[in-house]
Symmetry: C2
């Protein structure tokens, strides 16, 4: 976009963005305070308004930055690939993302729960095609007898649900397991469980 990005712009832009994501994830669009975001970013509130016209535009920018990041994971799986290997990789990648940046997942989840008022077209123009393409590949695996038949779209939803759960419901999971934090051990244990259970659930292993 910017042809000659100036130094301070980039630096503060990033600081604000990061602060906004945290704050919006923690309190939602309405609960988040511009002052709190400014404080988190270490800037006066008026400076935040220099970069973002208003709260909503900052919120939308935060959502967009997340969606861009997730889109990078738009790999080019084809009919040729091995279902077991591919789905395993997909699941593990989703788990990794969930633990790497729970705030992103939480922010996105809150927006969806509240009816996706600011990203409704994203759902239709980006997510729907993405899911349909994935589903087509999975369908082709089924047609080729590489795995038993079931609904590919519901399978994708199940993978999303099981993996994002650990980001969105972090507090609940930790409290119930009586742990202070996620650690490497737990993460790989969770990855293994989800991957194995779903792959077996699809009839791909055992």
């Amino acid at each position: 976009m910017a042809r000659n990005p100036s130094r301070p712009r980039d630096k503060n832009f990033a600081k604000i963005m990061s602060a906004a994501r945290e704050e919006f994830a923690l309190r939602g669009l309405n609960g988040a305070r511009m002052q709190a975001i400014a404080d988190r970013a270490g800037l006066p509130k008026a400076n935040v308004h220099y970069y973002f016209r208003n709260k909503v535009s900052l919120y939308v920018a935060a959502l967009n930055s997340i969606m861009e990041k997730w889109n990078d994971f738009f790999d080019g799986t084809t009919d040729e690939d091995d279902p077991t290997e591919t789905l395993d990789l997909f699941i593990r990648e989703k788990v990794r993302l969930a633990f790497e940046d729970p705030s992103a997942s939480k922010l996105f989840a809150t927006e969806i729960i509240q009816g996706a008022p600011y990203i409704s077209n994203y759902l239709e123009e980006v997510m729907r095609p993405w899911v349909n393409e994935r589903a087509k590949v999975i369908q082709s695996w089924m047609d080729a007898g590489k795995m038993p038949r079931s609904d590919p779209v519901l399978l994708i939803f199940m993978i999303w649900a099981s993996t994002q759960h650990y980001a969105d419901f972090q507090v609940q999971v930790l409290r119930i397991m009586d742990r202070p934090d996620y650690d490497e051990n737990l993460v790989s244990q969770i990855s293994d469980f989800i991957s194995e259970t779903i792959l077996r659930g699809c009839g791909l292993i055992n």
Copy 2:
């Protein structure tokens, strides 16, 4: 609680509660407006304040009413029961709840995502024991060789995640599937899919 519940109290109490749940689910604690809740309930705002000291107490009351409802489903499964049948029933019951009252699930989800500031002790005093008891039963099934070994707690999380997904992410699911609403057909299709996939994933069928 009330020994001689007066008529109007109960009626308006329920109306406010229902309105509050909808509104809080849709906008979150901070986004919800007392005026909007009052409007939904068909009462003047001041009347809402007659029943509930302030916004937070109404919010907590709404959360409590949900948790009470969910606690009813505290059935007494024992080691004697059949794992397949019991888990199948559990999954279907969760799916039913998700579709029956998505607002409840959404409200609860939002609270958890935001760190469960108002129900943190509920997580430890009610949910943790509940999960541990369930897990013990599942563990006993595994010990008895009725099903392959895996982590019972993670299994419970997976069931929660896969089922609640359809309440919380309702908009996303519908947009991606290009449907205006959930219908009976879809609901039973989803129930079947989740139940079959998870049961197979546990090594209980096929």
